[in-house]
Symmetry: D2
Subunit: 269 residues, 4 copies
């Protein structure tokens, strides 16, 4: 039997500190900029999402980009900014790590290590991240079947680290209006197959600001334990992914809707 398999077990909780627990009755809302662009931008967004009800801060210091000429992130400087944002807001931080060589630096700051979609099949990185003992936020590969996603999680579990969260973030299909096709059926499927908490990223999953709130609601309605959302104070000026970012105002309204929904289905936020 694989370690990810559920048997009779309930969803296991993953406590990442700062009162943020995945897999319990309280929904986790992760919010923040796609990329840590500079100190002012990140601190402003962190304060805004905290105010609006987020329970965790996201933000990329190391960015995997399709083109070598696109902005690749602030690296160590970005990590320092994230640490400052955490100190200011009390929000724990999740940020992506791209290769084993960076793990020590990233793990020194992050409360949770994100393995992105492009690295879901990177077994070397999965094992190394697992061995740090830090909680791992694992995104589904954009062309990964559910079984492959669970086997990627198994690479982390096999190191003895059980603090992991799975995140559906959209799969690649023939549809071109949306950036990816958010596969929400993955949520109940995963909840039925594994005890690992499940998150959804509707920002990458749709690529369109206007679709993020309804899809966040849908994610919660079908059982997601967490939602990860990109928020930017000036989406028009974002260095990356502005088209899929919420303003703090839109985010605030979305959290309100999610709160109503959560209470209707016996959860809190």
């Amino acid at each position: 039997m694989m370690k990810f398999e559920k048997g009779d077990a309930e969803t296991q909780t993953v406590d990442v500190g700062g009162g943020c627990v995945f897999g319990g009755p309280r929904l986790v809302i992760i919010a923040g900029p796609c990329t840590v662009e500079d100190r002012a931008q990140t601190l402003e967004i962190a304060a805004a999402v905290k105010e609006a009800g987020a329970s965790m801060l996201r933000g990329g210091a190391y960015k995997p980009r399709t083109s070598p000429y696109a902005f690749q992130g602030l690296h160590e400087e970005g990590l320092d900014i994230l640490a400052e944002a955490r100190a200011n807001t009390g929000l724990p931080v999740v940020t992506e790590v791209l290769e084993s060589a960076d793990l020590a630096k990233v793990a020194a700051v992050a409360d949770m290590l994100q393995i992105g979609s492009r690295n879901m099949h990177n077994s070397v990185l999965l094992q190394a991240a697992g061995r740090t003992g830090k909680p791992v936020f694992l995104k589904r590969g954009m062309s990964a079947r559910i079984e492959e996603f669970l086997l990627a999680a198994e690479y982390v579990l096999e190191t003895g680290n059980e603090r992991i969260v799975l995140c559906e973030r959209g799969i690649r299909t023939f549809e071109t209006v949306t950036r990816f096709t958010l596969d929400l059926s993955a949520v109940p499927l995963l909840k039925q197959r594994t005890w690992i908490p499940v998150a959804v990223d509707p920002s990458h999953g749709t690529g369109m600001t206007s679709l993020v709130p309804p899809m966040a609601c849908a994610a919660v309605a079908c059982g997601a334990d967490a939602v990860m959302v990109e928020v930017h104070c000036c989406p028009d000026k974002a260095l990356c992914d502005g088209d899929q970012s919420e303003t703090p105002e839109l985010f605030y309204r979305m959290v309100k809707e999610l709160r109503t929904l959560a209470s209707a289905i016996g959860r809190t936020l």
Copy 2:
């Protein structure tokens, strides 16, 4: 400007009789067997779904099947059974039509004509169905982009018939655990692009009984006006699609959940 485009318009309502109105505050729940197998089976299911809160009856008399050797439906006899089920329960009936030559027969019984996924690109059938003046329930082709789906609706609208409902029912992707990938982002996308009411079929969209209730909830949470669900008293013995059918008990529980959800988001059921 295409006729399907929204501009400033609200979602338009489609009244199919029997108190069943698509696109208003009240959610429409369409339920029934995949196929009209015989009189007893259909009348029993119709009574059960009515009792559980369905507002419309579905059931196939003409079935499009992948293999020529699979059961193709009871045809006229099936239509007669559907008419009797309506007389018994008061539920209006939606049933599929496969070709123009059958339109008169089907339209004489059905309150709403279903154009299935395999025929979404069948412009000849779309126009002929439109011309009957009957409400049309148009399912998305399994490999149709949103724009193509809307243009298929335009074939109906262009005949002057505006009583149409669009139904997301899953698209074909690389995922193999589910029968199709239910693309719920189509719901808010369509609501933003058109005034036509939007339905979701989680039974075909997932192909798994256990995924239907959570995905029905997700559909409602992101704005669907209607949900279409397959119900069978003995899914094990169903001639078609037993793996994705709810029992009346499961359906009853699902409707209860949907009612709670609906009231949380300002709708009724």
Copy 3:
């Protein structure tokens, strides 16, 4: 056992008249305009493709279009023009039929009935076309698995009509540079599974003029019995699919390449 299954049988030949035989040692080259636009255009192209070495003429009189406002074909007038083109060139004609009601008219002119990609799942049309006794040119649905393609052919075979040719024409994938992804592995797969001859349409399969000749060569190299290519004298002015049409000059060069290739693998052209 399904009628399409091969067992120990060789590929069966389908003779459509005018010396054009599918499935034998001689490759069949089908060429012509996407759409019969007018008499002059069609007669000019027919003469040019005959001259260049085509063995069959293609051209649409009934066009399935995504938008109801796009040109839908000349219908009966288009069929008359095709008949004249055949009389001038001696090339047998294949043309698409969209619904059963048109079958008599189309079958009166066409030497071979084309069932297009959008209608591959239209079992009613498949059976009606089969019953005419005319040879059927069946295109793969854009999201049909090989097994479904073969079962669609079974709908024709089951009527007793064994004169059928299967045509790979591209499937829908996430790739966006090409119009579809031409799945050439379908060619050897089908040759191993069935005795039905196999054709390839690289024009629709790629959507790009410059990719048609190399993909036609690839199709022949992996065993295709026929190639269907769109040719237009002024692709820039084509009412439909100009981006994927060859000029007569390009087509002439392509046939020459195919002839060299055919002789290298023991076939003729």
Copy 4:
């Protein structure tokens, strides 16, 4: 302008030693086991493929596997065996590297570094591999668009290393009979867009032994500069990918067919 863009340039040649040159008139045939299982197996296969006409040896010492419990390769021991196989046969060796930390070890033995499909988006590894100065064999990600594939190559080129070969190896689609869908249209597309030589891997691209020879022929017919094929003396006992491996006998016959084809299109082998 990106470094990969063609402009007026011809395909550039990549010389990997041992008389093996990609992108010239002579086709390169890369063959060998999926995985270096043990010394005897690898030396036997190496001798057989050399005898049959291969110009390069493939074999995995570091294997990316979906499950952590599957055989992950012999690592350094595997590299030693590959070095011995090269010494015996004179064939240069291409083998996969999974992370930057292994680059020095792998580059010390390999004549060419393979970046596999799962790592095509791994920009860190691409840059590190580029910086070794070794030739790079870059496989297309299983869900990468052509443009993303070219941008991945740009990560290598940007380090100043221009010795790179692109390899189409199948993309993920809805088709389930084949393991992936080999997208041969990528070959002429890439040849028109870039000066980088193009290879095709029909073994992974189809996943079926019987489809490899026809698809290798198709690849050559549409312009591929190289073909990579898995060969195993006992496919039934292979630790990995036996279903898609050729026996030496089948491989020998395939090379013969390719030779005939090559000469018909003005190339050699």
